[in-house]
């Protein structure tokens, strides 16, 4: 550096390079902004078409009418579809959430590295199986298997029983047989089971991440106090990871709501309101979910810009709203209730 002038030693990059650096920055920023545009695009396109639809069918009718029959009579009540979605989602959640959490606890607390090395890729493959194959499996293989032992009747009261009460007089209970009815070809039960299988990996992987991030010092402290492994797992680790577990539950439910092919193929396309006292009938009968209704409309041939076509977007918007809320909720739970350990 001896004797050089300042101009020779300029640390400034030349103009062109600076401009290039800026250009690349803008290109990358553009890519990132594009993802926001996708969301905006979804909201705008769905809303525009849904608005057209609500011009023809009043929102009150859409959300209160109990018949869904867009292609023939033009009845647009979304309740039967929501009922179908809820039946599948709730039953799938009942199966998947406990099993998913159990797998997560097993993998993070009990399993040896060898077992983990088998279990983890297996779950990843389970998560990667196309939903259309789940649907095919449910329709062609699972339903006949479940159908095998059905209908089952369990006699609870073999003969009428008369009970005499001091003040009310006598009450006669007629004989009662509990019946699990046989399945229809299309039924909500097998659809729920495959949807459950589908979301188990999601629950287990997110929950396992949450369980793994609980610091080991907490476990050691538990053992130091004389706790058993069971106590440490259920009273220390799981409570510490609650936020992650709940957010995995919410995401799994949201996934089950949006699931399309498996429920379309296995649960059928006959929209109906839930059977109330006879709850089992909801599972053994064919139903139609919101997603299946969209597939049915899209699959109907030679459909122009009719009300039925627009109704697809109204359901889509409802669906998008539901899943968006749940995803935001999961994110919120994870952020707000996360225990921070340093």
């Amino acid at each position: 550096m001896t004797g050089s002038t300042a101009a020779d030693l300029s640390v400034e990059r030349d103009e062109f390079v600076q401009r290039k650096e800026r250009l690349y920055r803008w290109i990358f920023a553009g890519c990132a902004v594009l993802t926001v545009l996708v969301t905006v695009g979804i909201v705008i396109t769905l809303s525009l078409k849904a608005l057209v639809f609500f011009g023809a069918v009043s929102p009150v009718d859409f959300f209160t009418n109990t018949t869904w029959d867009p292609l023939i009579n033009g009845n647009y009540g979304v309740l039967p579809l929501i009922s179908g979605t809820l039946i599948v989602t709730v039953s799938a959640a009942v199966i998947a959430l406990p099993i998913g959490l159990a797998i997560a606890v097993y993998m993070s607390e009990y399993a040896s590295p060898t077992v983990r090395a088998v279990l983890k890729p297996a779950l990843e493959i389970l998560a990667g199986i196309p939903t259309v194959i789940y649907g095919y499996f449910a329709l062609v293989y699972l339903t006949p298997i479940l159908q095998g032992p059905l209908p089952i009747s369990i006699t609870i009261l073999p003969t009428p029983v008369s009970l005499a009460f001091p003040f009310f007089g006598s009450v006669t209970l007629s004989e009662y047989v509990f019946v699990i009815p046989s399945l229809r070809t299309f039924n909500a039960l097998s659809a729920s089971i495959v949807v459950a299988i589908m979301v188990i990996p999601m629950v287990s992987s997110i929950s396992e991440d949450a369980l793994n991030s609980v610091p080991d010092s907490l476990r050691q402290a538990g053992y130091g106090l004389g706790s058993t492994k069971f106590d440490v797992s259920t009273k220390v680790v799981i409570p510490a990871a609650t936020s992650g577990i709940i957010s995995s539950y919410v995401l799994a439910v949201s996934r089950a709501i949006g699931e399309t092919m498996a429920v379309t193929m296995a649960a059928g396309q006959s929209p109906k309101m839930p059977y109330f006292p006879d709850i089992l009938a909801n599972l053994t009968n064919s139903i139609e979910t919101m997603t299946a209704a969209m597939v049915k409309i899209a699959g109907a041939e030679s459909l122009g810009e009719t009300v039925a076509y627009e109704s697809m977007f109204a359901i889509g918007l409802t669906l998008f709203g539901m899943t968006l809320l749940m995803n935001l909720l999961a994110e919120l739970i994870r952020r707000r209730y996360r225990e921070v350990y340093d």
Partner: protein, 538 residues
Amino acid sequence: MGSNSSSGYTTDTRLRLQRAKGGLFEVLLVLASVLGLAALVVLFGFISFDALGPLGASPSWYIIYFATLVGPTGGYVLYVRQRPAVRKVNDQAFAAVVGGLVVSIFLYVVGDALSPYDVLFYFVMAALPPLLITLYAKYHPRRSWTGPAIIVSIVLGVGVGALIYDSVISIIEIAAAWIAFAGFTTVPALGITYVIFSIYKNKRAARRYVIGLAVGAILVVGVAMGLGIDPSFPLVLYSGAGVPSIVLVANVVGGQTDDGSLGLLGPVIVVSGIVAGGWLERWFGISGLETWVTPTLLLESWSSTTATEAGVYPQIVGSIVIISCMALLAFPIGVGAAIYLEEYAPDTGIVGRIGKLIEINIANLAGVPSVVYGLLGLSLFSNMLGLSQGIVIVAAATLGLLVLPIVIVSTQEAIRAVPDTMRMGSYGMGASRWQTLRNVVLPEALPGTLTGTILALGRAIGETAPLIIISLPTTRFSPPSGLFETGTALPLQIFAASASVISEYRYGVVAASSFVLLTLMLLMNGTAIVLRNRYEKR
């Protein structure tokens, strides 16, 4: 503690109860995990059982294949496992053969569907300008403009290509089809070989190799013509799988040490086992598997009346074309977005807050049901842009939007895993942000990015609902002939045929199609998992 202990240790039953509770809990956890595994086994088991029909084969069939394929391969694997040098060469050999086969089948099938002349034309228009610029830049002192010029030249090249397509294509079509195939398979294969050899060895060796390989290509064409078959597929196979294998063999055998040269035997043992088994099977007239995964299924088009004549070739090719086109669209955008979020976006201020918003938005997009993407594609591409319904490019773009979050998130993770010290080192040597990215961060993050992209492909190949919404036809009798032509996809055919009451379809053709789809998915996810495991170990 002291006050508790007397009651705790004297009441033996309480302790036993505690232990029983813990044991029961563990049994329940194991049961749940077994259930998860069982679901996988049952699903794969049922579908592959019906697709492959293992009961149809006579016991001697199993004995033959055990003797020719399973036994030798098993013994070889046991031998290789203990020798790291052999294992390394073995891995490379399988990568060259299997990877080469996949690449050549892909290139041939796509070229054949879209017309080899079109593929060659656009390949030349997109590849020639950047190549010329790179060569020119080697002899030009100021290189800072090369990068932007390459991007611009690709876009310009494709654009100009689209304009002059009509007047030029008829001239190209004078040549035989195999020449067109050679243009986009053999020529690049030789070019890549030349570049690699001139970097790792010297230019003379590179020239010698390329001339030798070119003579081989001419021989392949000559033999094929002599036998009276179309030389296109043999040539593509030679360029895709033959060239890498030959280069590997020459490298290992011609190397100074011959530690691992036995590793080259791996693919030979497997292939010769299959060939020998097939030969013996025919020789003794043994009944093989009653499989539905037949050449008819893989190479013919659909028949809705005769199950034994039904095939899904157009569907498979449609899926492959859609998925590749999707990858071309989603990969650059996804990686670009991830680069911005990880390397450029500040943590604070308004821009920082926008960056956080974008990240939350991406997490949400990952959870949006796939049917909704179908609606977006339908109204965005078909209704607003006026593209006709059910064409390949619309399907590719729709699926591209769907997998964008997967690509972004996995690329972000890969970039985040690059240690900061490497960036600091690069900055310390005076590199700019882009130079650091291009020379340090991106090469390090490449395996993770590829893993994410392959996972995204695996997800996209099974997607059905969005394709139904954008009304892709389920059954077509020819593969898509262009990106703006109608095409179909494999899962759509499975959906359409699954409700068939004819049991030959229900348990035969559909099971076999599902088996093919599952195999494609497993190939992709398996590659991704292997890649990730290797990368994590490093």
